[in-house]
């Protein structure tokens, strides 16, 4: 048995980052295209989480009859759709009116703050402040023990079944395979990068930047090899050992957020609507002159952002195992930090910023003993540090 | 009446020396190799230029980099390369307030009036280094404070009378017409008592009578030793009123010289005909 260490903190940080990224994707859209620094975004996350709860676990909500539970995935989909409807309401009832009045940035900040108060307290009013959970199948966590030995790497997986720790697998990778794997990963990554970079010219709008595609190729190679080239254990007499805990939640959250990011990117880069959105982000007045229906674009932005927020809320509620009226507001600061860090205007920037923030929070808490209450503070120190050096964020504001 | 209205340097109000009368030989501005890029697009490509006392006109087709040059000179953009000297002082990369304090102020192409403040307040803001502009001065308010504020108000009124916006002094600046905003912008810049003023299209949208009046005023100020560098689209105005003309094209200086010489320069004609209309 080995204990969890830096590697586990890194994995946790990635998951935290993925959850933040869900919110950051939506916020960056609103920030960039609707030009609203949306302080209600955290509470839109909360609303989304509770909308799914209404269908998944209505018995917990005082003013609702207990009409039975809908499976979690279905409830999540209904919740996301309803959140999208609410997003349209925010835009039509509030933000469009202020935009028509040429409200300035400061006004938009305060308006979104007002909306935040309304949303959070609506949840508090209807549900109260108690902790509630979704009704979901129990998730079993698998612990992966990684042991570095003289001859290579041994992996032992254990699970807790009926209170007992059971070893479910044991395999290993000899040194030659590890070295070969790393080489293969680098080669594949570079090959992919080179291949796509050649196709690129000044006019191409690349869906996925070649660098990211290359990195994805490398990671994919390592994962494939790791899964399919499982050889004999290399002994348990370890020099270095560490443990990470993984379960289906982790994988799902990562996958859902990455898929959401890709879909958003495809919409922005390939569809007519997406081009209109990007033109609006660039210059709303100019876009309107060129025949873009700005009102329609803004409506779509709010709907999509509210859906993404709901997705983030549902994932958060599922991951953290309970829902509170403050859950979204607590995420607001890291989400803003991620978006500003990523430079507002690109989905990739938002996700990258979110991963950096998530990693710095969890790794920071691991590295600095007794700092667990300062998770958000760590994210903020990093944000302020970056802003001091580059006031426009890492990826710039272009 | 314009002769009487020349702003006189006021004790405690003017930071720099009074305008350098008689230093005719020395250039005011020396610009060497100023380069500025925006995300791979080169807006300024090694601008070399000296600006002598008097009125200098800056012309060039749209996109030639005139306003970008102004922004680089006054500190609103940091040039990527090159140096700017105001008299003997190196002002490259300094912040806008420091450059203004050195005696070079600018106006904005689209007038930036402080909409919720009155026209009078817009003008009163301009004189530099007022005692009441410091927290201590504002709290304590000695005789100097009172005297200075009275002088500033008189000057602001005078200049408002000249620019024919004195009947609007108590109106919010946001209620002015486009032409009046231009006037306010110039008046505000002049109230700082600068050595050189960079005017970004000061005459666009101003009626012809007023146009002539502003030009007359500028000439009167030049007599007193002030200098102007102005961007203007109306070539005839530039040719009639400027002592020297600078032509910019594609981020660089195409030619400099007396109006007549520039007017007949083949490259200038080419640049204008080949580029956008003026």
């Amino acid at each position: 048995m080995v204990s969890a260490g830096l590697l586990d903190a890194t994995v946790q940080g990635l998951i935290t980052g993925a959850v933040i990224a869900g919110g950051a994707l939506g916020l960056s859209l609103i920030y960039d295209i609707a030009e609203v620094p949306n302080f209600a975004h955290g509470d839109m996350i909360t609303i989304g989480a509770y909308l799914a709860l209404v269908f998944n676990n209505p018995g917990e909500i005082p003013f609702l009859p207990d009409f039975g539970s809908v499976p979690f995935v279905l409830a999540a989909i209904i919740g996301v759709v309803l959140a999208g409807v609410l997003g349209a309401v925010y835009e039509l009832a509030i933000f469009r009116k202020f935009r028509d009045n040429d409200a300035d940035l400061i006004t938009m900040v305060i308006v979104s703050l007002g909306l935040a108060l309304v949303l959070r307290n609506a949840v508090l009013f209807l549900v109260g402040s108690k902790n509630i959970q979704y009704q979901t199948p129990r998730v079993i966590t698998t612990n992966f023990d990684f042991l570095v030995t003289q001859t290579g790497l041994t992996v032992i997986t254990t699970q807790r079944q009926a209170g007992e720790l059971v070893t479910t697998g044991e395999w290993g990778y000899p040194w030659w395979l590890i070295v070969a794997g790393i080489l293969a990963a680098v080669a594949v990554g570079y090959a992919v990068f080179a291949l796509y970079r050649e196709e690129e010219d000044f006019t191409t709008v690349s869906l996925i930047p070649p660098k990211i595609l290359g990195a994805a190729g490398s990671i994919g190679t390592v994962l494939l090899l790791g899964v399919f080239a499982r050889l004999d254990p290399q002994g348990t007499d370890y020099i270095l050992g560490t443990q990470i805990g993984l379960n289906v939640k982790h994988i799902t959250i990562l996958a859902v957020v990455i898929v959401a990011m890709f879909i958003l990117n495809v919409i922005l880069k390939t569809t007519k609507l997406g081009r209109a959105m990007r033109a609006t982000a660039d210059n709303m007045a100019l876009a309107e002159v060129r025949g873009v229906d700005a009102d329609r674009v803004q409506l779509v932005v709010w709907v999509v952002a509210a859906m993404l927020a709901a997705l983030a809320g549902i994932l958060t509620g599922w991951f953290a195992t309970n829902l509170t009226p403050n859950m979204g507001f607590a995420l607001l600061l890291p989400i803003f930090a991620a978006v500003i860090l990523g430079g507002i205007s690109s989905p990739y920037g938002a996700v990258a910023g979110a991963l950096i923030i998530g990693l710095s929070m969890d790794v920071g808490v691991y590295l600095i003993p007794g700092s667990s209450t300062y998770r958000v503070a760590i994210a903020f120190v990093i944000l302020i540090g970056v802003l001091l050096v580059k006031p426009e964020g890492i990826w710039g504001d272009v | 009446m314009s002769e009487q209205n020349t702003p006189t340097p006021t004790p405690g109000v003017t930071p720099t020396d009074s305008p350098k009368i008689g230093d005719d030989g020395d250039p005011i501005l020396r610009i060497e190799g100023i380069t500025k890029q925006f995300g791979g697009i080169t807006a300024l490509d090694g601008v070399d230029l000296t600006v002598d006392p008097g009125i200098t006109g800056l012309i060039g087709p749209n996109g030639a980099g005139k306003t970008t040059l102004f922004n680089c000179l006054t500190g609103f953009h940091k040039p990527d390369d090159g140096r700017v000297h105001l008299y003997e002082t190196d002002i490259t990369g300094k912040e806008p307030p420091a450059i203004a304090q050195q005696g070079m102020v600018r106006t904005f192409q689209i007038p930036r009036e402080l909409a919720d403040m009155t026209v009078f307040e817009n003008l009163l803001l301009a004189p530099m280094n007022q005692h009441g502009e410091r927290l201590r001065g504002a709290w304590i308010r000695g005789d100097q404070f009172v005297e200075e504020e009275q002088v500033i108000r008189d000057r602001a009124r005078e200049i408002a009378v000249f620019f024919e916006i004195d009947h609007l002094l108590d109106e919010p600046a946001g209620s002015l017409s486009g032409g009046q905003r231009k006037l306010l912008e110039i008046a505000r810049a002049l109230l700082t008592d600068p050595d050189i003023v960079l005017l970004d299209e000061p005459l666009a949208g101003v009626n012809p009578t007023l146009e002539q009046k502003i030009l007359g005023r500028i000439e009167a100020l030049v007599e007193d030793g002030y200098s102007f560098l102005l961007i203007e689209h109306d070539i005839d105005l530039i040719m009639d009123n400027c002592e020297r003309v600078v032509v910019m094209h594609q981020g660089a200086v195409l030619t400099t010289g007396a109006p007549e010489a520039v007017q007949s320069d083949e490259r200038v004609i080419e640049a204008y005909l080949g580029g956008d209309d003026v």
Binding site: F39, G114, N121, F125, L333, L383 | V105, E133
Partner: protein
């Protein structure tokens, strides 16, 4: 509880939060800085003042200090003790200003929306630090040994019962007279709608304050409400009790803060601040070091918030980190915007409106299991009011104030003289 006592506690609240709001108005209303972390300086002012003024080794306290400044100067009698407390308040204000300096240097160069979010973040972090670091200010347990200045002097008695009643009674009547005069002047200046509002509201309040208590509790109650500064039950001969003193102290502090901010903005300095709010590039192009101005406005506003915090501490008598949640900042923003952004009178009006509604709802009887719902609906109402005001009346109830720099002798005023 007599109506007078309720009014006194409400007015004390309003005075303290108005001072807090005036500090915010200097930042937000006049300079355009969205400081979503304003409450942090309220907290710092409260904590630093309390620690500087309380005795060392207080029971149940394991943080830094106390430094017992009033005791130190107490040898000079009550005035010395009061001076010690004032020094403590000054310390709290300076601490608040210094922390805002540290916050301002990195953040004031950022875009205005970035400033809002970083300020909120830093305030949240500061509250977390105070809450989690017990060695600092006793952590979540708070401090209940708050030094109350001149506590020993009260209830203040001037001699006999009659003398007390006469002196404090006359002072009370004078306060009513002043209020009446001020109301009448305000009434005359209003348009038709303002006249209507005042004409309805003032009699209603008067009936509620004078007539209803008399009908239910008789003449004694009327006397108590009329001679509100005099408390017949305070001490053997009656007198002025401590709550009334805290109210007067808070009103005096508010007056001082109001005067200071008015003097600051009605000056060439204030012109620069407002120019920054409108379009920072303009004062920069005219040679003003705007960064310095923003920093100073931030520090001054924070110092006022710190003073409000010191008063808060003696008014409540106990401070703990959970009193300083981010919502306090949002309340102040609401009060400023409702009353009229960039209008110091508006801040007081907005604060009175806000806390009047908030504390007034305590008379609504709801079963205790719905207390969360009541609190939540209040905050929802605040959010809705904020949005509606910004849409239908963005200038607030009073609108931006007028400015004037009064000059002696020569007639050369640029604006109106109504400030």
């Amino acid at each position: 509880m007599a109506v007078a006592d309720f009014i006194i506690s409400l007015l004390t609240f309003i005075a303290i939060y108005s001072l807090f709001g005036i500090g915010l108005n200097l930042k937000f209303g006049f300079t355009g800085l969205i400081d979503f972390g304003h409450v942090a300086y309220f907290m710092i002012g409260a904590y630093v003042t309390v620690v500087l003024t309380m005795p060392a080794g207080a029971a149940g306290y394991s943080g830094i200090g106390g430094f017992a400044l009033p005791e130190l100067f107490g040898v000079l009698g009550p005035i010395g003790s009061l001076f010690g407390w004032l020094l403590g308040v000054l310390g709290g204000m300076i601490a608040a200003a210094l922390v805002s300096l540290a916050v301002g240097v990195p953040t004031l160069r950022l875009r205005e929306d970035y400033l809002a979010i970083t300020a909120l973040g830093i305030a949240t972090i500061l509250t977390t630090v105070v809450n989690d670091e017990e060695w600092l200010f006793n952590g979540p347990f708070g401090i209940n040994t708050v030094h109350a200045p001149l506590r020993d002097v009260f209830p203040l008695s001037l001699g006999s019962f009659t003398l007390n009643m006469a002196v404090f009674g006359i002072l009370s009547l004078a306060a009513f007279g002043l209020t009446g005069y001020w109301l009448a002047r305000a009434f005359r200046r209003q348009g038709r709608r303002g006249k209507l509002v005042l004409g309805v509201l003032v009699p209603l309040v008067a009936v509620w304050y004078f007539v209803l208590p008399t009908l239910s509790d008789g003449m004694v109650e009327l006397t108590r409400n009329t001679l509100w500064l005099f408390d017949p039950t305070a001490g053997p001969k009656g007198g002025m009790d401590y709550d009334r003193f805290v109210l007067l102290l808070s009103v005096a502090a508010l007056g001082g803060g109001y005067w200071l901010v008015e003097r600051t903005i009605n000056s060439p300095y204030g012109r620069v601040l407002r120019a920054i709010r409108e379009d920072e590039d303009v004062p920069r192009a005219l040679g003003k070091e705007t960064f310095q101005y923003k920093l100073q406005a931030l520090m001054l506003g924070s110092a006022l918030a710190g003073a409000a915090g010191a008063l808060w501490a003696i008014n409540i008598g106990f401070i703990a980190p959970d009193q300083f949640a981010a919502t306090i900042t949002f309340y102040a923003f609401t009060a400023v915007i409702v009353g009229g952004t960039a209008n110091n009178k508006g801040v007081i009006l907005g604060t009175a409106f806000f806390w009047g509604i908030r504390n007034g709802t305590r008379f609504i009887d709801v079963p205790s299991q719905y207390s969360i719902q009541l609190a939540a609906s209040r905050l929802m109402l605040i959010g809705v009011v904020l949005i509606l005001i910004l849409y239908y009346r963005p200038e607030g109830l009073l609108g931006e104030q007028d400015y004037d720099i009064p000059l002696p002798s020569r007639d050369s005023s640029g604006g109106t003289d109504d400030v």
